[in-house]
Amino acid sequence: MTTATRPTLAGLWADAPPVPRRGRRRWLQREDVAGYVFLTPWLLGIFGVTLLPVLYSLVLSFTDYNIITGELAWVGLDNYERLFTDDPRYWTAVRVTVVFVAVSVPLKLALAMAMAVLLDRERHGGSWLRALVYLPSLLGVSVALAIAWRAMFSQDGAVNQVLGLLGVQGRSWATEADTALLTLILLAVWQFGGPMVIYLAGMRQIPAHYAEAARVDGAGRWRIFRSVTLPQLSPIILLTLVMETIAAFQGFTAAFVFGNGGGLDDATLTYTLYLYLRGFAGLEMGYASAMAWVFLVAVGALTALIFWSSRFWVHYAGGSR
């Protein structure tokens, strides 16, 4: 059927020029040579814009580099030592980031799963409902939403207006030291539609007779979810867990908009915001590079840990791939 609808294909081959005879062009036609021809932009990118810069930043992290004066001095492990022993703000940033990731990611994924279960059984009108739930994940990462979120959770914002109707005393959620991070977390969790559509797509791939068989065996809804849906989805859960964790560690936009300097008492000073402040506002490129490398190792180790843990909870059906 497919070939029939594309009769032009055969014609194209007939029209295609014969394999060139001259040596250089024949050499270019070789599959391995062509492979590298097609890969050239990517190779330039991986080396020029990714690998070498990463290595360069490792070198920089052992130096004191001021880009204004151009002075570059080798300082050995000095930056790392200062980072770990002599910079309380750094540890504040670590704490803020860990809390942000540890609270927002599980909440976001749990909500995504709950909503996916709720919407999976939707037959009619399900697609626009799904789209509306998905929408915040497209918009929530923007500066516009960060600005609006901050205003919404301010002293005279919409949240306090609603709370006032309920008789609850409001406060400046977005700026007060003990609630600012919570507000930031809520903004992240609000975007749960992203992983939700992935779960929904995954649920549609589970053969219906699995649940049917379980039902025949007398399993209830919860039991089916726990023993059929969840194991079947576990590879997808692993994927979203890894991607969301890495993304959450890099949360910058909202933290930057909430309080450029990290907010009151550095309550929303995320790791990448602090990196920006030291590197690009403070022009301490060496110090910022050391921060970047600790970040890389920490996030890499955590990612590896998640992948390692997956052997205990991820269920691969039929041993495919």
């Binding site: 391995d32 097609f38 909503m115 509306l132 901050r150 609000w190 590879p235």
Partner: protein, 304 residues
């Protein structure tokens, strides 16, 4: 056939009503911030400070006029133009370069192919902020600061591994008998690319284009770092500077500009809603682009 298999429980109708109510409430909470932004952007200044209702009594468009003037001589027209250049440049770069790489990875055999593909996956997991400092120094050395080049050129070099991966997944699911017949007919790698893979990969390229545009449009950190001057600002940094310059005290115009900044994403959302919510957006892994699942079941009877 399936309906009588599990009879309705006695409370079925009631619990269905509760479920609908719960869904409606959830949806209201979820969309409340967006409605609030839109409503506030259409309120008169006095109504912003006094009115408790979500929606304005009468629509005021003056906020959009006031807000458009922007900050320190640069209006939002400027910011939109800058953002458009960056977003379209990135889109074009991603579509072209990622397709070339994905074609090599899926259709050609060459030494070290597997190793390079592992590098794609590794960079997929690499936190991009790690690269900011050294890339900044590199682009500074090249004299590219205060130009859109640092935001566009890397995309031309397929550095957005996500899209390489997305297109690879798509091409892997494409039936290979096209390739085989093409090869038998004597087509070389370039003809294979030009006449078989390029026309067939349209859905993957469309997905790449949409996501690339939306993500670049929303992106902030690199744009802030490479285009710090007011007149070069993209929409996100323009908005941020507008907010700092006192926008937060005049919510109406501020929110009007927030609404405008979200508009392009909303247009893409409405137009490609089905594609975006099919699960492909943040991960194509199992989601299946339109066409792939069809192609798979038709030509490869393997399941899962």
């Amino acid at each position: 056939m399936t309906a009588p298999a599990h009879p309705r429980r006695p409370g079925g109708r009631l619990s269905a009503a509760v479920l609908v109510a719960v869904k409606a409430l959830l949806l209201l909470i979820l969309l409340y911030p967006l409605l609030w932004i839109l409503g506030t952007s259409l309120k008169s200044p006095t109504e912003v400070s006094t009115g408790l209702s979500l929606w304005p009594d009468d629509l005021t468009w003056s906020n959009y006029v006031t807000g458009w003037t922007g900050v320190s001589g640069a209006d939002f027209g400027r910011f939109f133009l800058n953002s458009t250049v960056v977003a379209l440049g990135s889109l074009l770069g991603n579509v072209v370069s990622c397709l070339l790489a994905a074609f090599a990875f899926t259709r050609l055999r060459f030494p070290l192919r597997r190793m390079w593909f592992v590098a794609v996956i590794a960079t997929l997991l690499l936190p991009q902020h790690v690269l900011m400092v050294p890339q900044y120094l590199l682009f500074r050395e090249l004299g590219w600061l205060n130009t859109p080049l640092p935001l566009i050129i890397p995309k031309l070099l397929a550095t957005d591994s996500f899209f390489v991966f997305l297109i690879v997944q798509f091409l892997r699911a494409l039936p290979e008998h096209f390739d085989e017949s093409a090869r038998i007919d004597g087509a070389g790698p370039y003809q294979l690319f030009r006449h078989v893979v390029l026309p067939l990969s349209r859905p993957a390229l469309i997905a790449t284009a949409i996501l690339s545009f939306i993500w670049t449009w929303n992106d902030f950190f690199p744009q802030l770092v490479y285009l710090p001057l007011v007149e070069d600002s993209t929409v996100p940094s323009g908005l941020h500077q507008y907010a700092i310059a006192g926008g937060l005290t005049a919510l109406g115009p501020m929110f009007a500009m927030c609404v405008l900044s979200l508009l392009p994403v909303l247009v893409f959302f409405v137009t490609f809603q089905r594609l975006l919510t099919s699960g492909l957006a943040p991960s194509p892994v199992r989601a299946g682009l339109p066409g792939t699942r069809q192609a798979r079941t038709r030509d490869h009877p393997r399941t899962g």
